[in-house]
């Protein structure tokens, strides 16, 4: 058995289209997921039960259902409520909601990782809750937030493959098409896997850059000795840098 690379090169166009669609779906879902996650996390942190309870329910709902089941529920269920969306749109919405549950827990953990006294000293001097979050808490939570958000974002890129079940022409679906035409599953999935790997590696590199840019400010808060100690003693898995 020999590896026939011409199967990949002959169908490069389809793979490229699929990759572009996967990037589009993933980026849209990650960004909207993050945007939803912040208010959900803040609600969840509220001491008032009426505020925190819906957020808990939201997170538990979207976290405890396999994505493929959730996607099917959306796709076949929404028309019952008169909402007919394109498969691609349904997929992005479902992936964003799915991701937002994980992102919300990360945001919550990251906020809680900042010592309580930080919020207290900001409020005591007269900053509003939101200003204290923005100016004092967020810059300090990035060290915790970015590595964890990277992991979830990579998971979302991989989960986007499930959209193939709705015939959304993303990377996995295009791979299946090529396989159907060529009957060369090994070459096809080798190519597909390589492209996924490349995309997630790129994504991780992007997050690392943002960590250096954004976290650079926050990092300065810790002397070089602390930084070194933190790197070696850290119990949080961090991406290599």
């Amino acid at each position: 058995m020999t590896l026939d690379l011409s199967i990949i090169t002959d169908n490069a166009g389809l793979f490229a289209q699929g990759a572009v669609a996967t990037v589009y779906i993933s980026v849209a879902a990650i960004i909207s997921g993050l945007l939803i996650a912040f208010p959900v996390a803040l609600l969840r942190l509220s001491p008032r039960r009426v505020m925190s309870w819906p957020a808990v329910a939201y997170v538990e709902l979207f976290r405890n259902i396999p994505f493929i089941v959730m996607l099917s529920l959306f796709f076949y269920g929404l028309p019952f409520f008169g909402l007919r969306l394109q498969p691609m749109t349904t997929g992005i919405v479902a992936l964003a909601l799915f991701g937002s549950a994980y992102f919300a827990e990360i945001v919550r953990g990251a906020i809680l990782s900042v010592p309580r006294g930080q919020m207290e000293s900001a409020r005591a001097i007269g900053m509003s809750y939101l200003r204290a979050l923005r100016e004092i808490i967020f810059p300090q939570m990035l060290r915790f937030f970015i590595p964890a958000a990277t992991n979830t974002s990579i998971s979302l890129v991989k989960e986007s493959a499930v959209l193939a079940t709705l015939s959304v022409a993303e990377l996995t679906y295009q791979g299946l098409i090529v396989q159907g035409q060529t009957f060369a599953p090994f070459e096809v999935f080798l190519a597909t896997a390589t492209i996924y790997w490349g995309l997630t590696a790129l994504l991780a590199a992007g997050f690392r850059t943002s960590e250096r840019r954004l976290g650079g400010q926050a990092q300065r808060g810790f002397s070089s000795r602390h930084r070194l100690a933190a790197r070696y003693l850290s119990l949080e898995p961090e991406p290599r840098s």
């Binding site: 010592p115 006294g117 930080q118 207290e120 000293s121 900001a122 409020r123 005591a124 001097i125 007269g126 900053m127 509003s128 809750y129 200003r131 100016e135 004092i136 810059p139 300090q140 400010q217 926050a218 300065r220 808060g221 810790f222 002397s223 602390h226």
Partner: protein, 256 residues
């Protein structure tokens, strides 16, 4: 008409579940007065201090800063009602609070720790705010440390920056919550000296402290807290040398 006291507390109560931390406290502090609060751990003195600027929301009672209500105000229909978050945020800068653990913002330089609030909350020009912050830091012997990050400062330096941060908002009242308890013994004196200077300049101060020597030298009045109440109150000599209650005698005996 005489000016209202800088701090006026009436009927303040605060419980955490079944535990009563502050059990009905009335206290007036006049302009320029230094009041030191002493008492055994867990007697509610820190909670009382944190209730003054509503970091802890009292269950009952009112607090006024130079006559203006903070946190809770009389309602038109009688009784009291909580102020809006915005009202509270506007009142808080009038009270400076210094924490035991400093709580400097570690991602900002010493200078920015001091200048940030005046810039954001008072709309002071950055250049002007930084000049004021530098002057404050210089006064506290920290001119060379303005650009340092908090992690690169010693405990005594951190606490002096924290005091400068609170003063930058030009508060009418300064609250100190055991400001020297987290410091190495050799730098405690530096911070106390600074507080004494502030007192001599006429700042109104309420200081929760275990430093009886400081309280005796600097305080106009000492308040002895016990079980969430003011158990005894008076000028330092009277209170420390001639304690009336057995509780205070016992408490003071631990310091000899």
């Amino acid at each position: 008409m005489t000016a209202p006291p800088v701090l006026s507390v009436r009927g303040l109560r605060k419980s955490f579940g079944a535990m009563t931390a502050v059990a009905g406290v009335d206290l007036d502090v006049e302009a320029g007065e230094i009041v030191c609060i002493i008492g055994p751990s867990g007697c509610g003195k820190s909670t009382f201090l944190r209730c003054i600027n509503y970091l802890e929301r009292p269950d009952e009672g009112t607090v006024r800063i130079a006559g203006d209500y903070i946190g809770r105000e009389p309602a038109a229909a009688g009784g009291t009602r909580l102020q809006s978050a915005r009202q509270l945020d506007r009142m808080r800068p009038r009270v400076g609070l210094v924490f035991q653990q400093f709580h400097l913002w570690p991602h900002l330089s010493a200078l920015e720790n001091v200048a940030r609030a005046p810039i954001r909350l008072r709309g002071v020009d950055r250049s002007e705010a930084e000049a004021q912050a530098r002057a404050l830091l210089a006064r506290f012997g920290l001119a060379a440390k303005a650009g340092r990050m908090p992690a690169d400062l010693s405990g005594g330096e951190k606490q002096r920056v924290a005091i400068a941060r609170a003063l930058a908002m030009k508060p009418e009242l300064m609250l100190f919550d055991e400001p020297t308890s987290a410091l190495d013994p050799e730098v405690v004196g530096d911070v106390l000296r600074l507080m004494k200077e502030l007192a001599e300049e006429g700042m109104t101060m309420v200081v929760v402290t275990h430093e009886l020597g400081f309280a005796r030298k600097v305080a106009d009045r000492i308040v002895f807290f016990d079980a969430g109440r003011i158990a005894e109150m008076g000028p330092p000599d009277e209170l420390i040398d001639r304690p009336r209650s057995e509780r205070l005698r016992l408490f003071l005996s631990h310091f000899q």
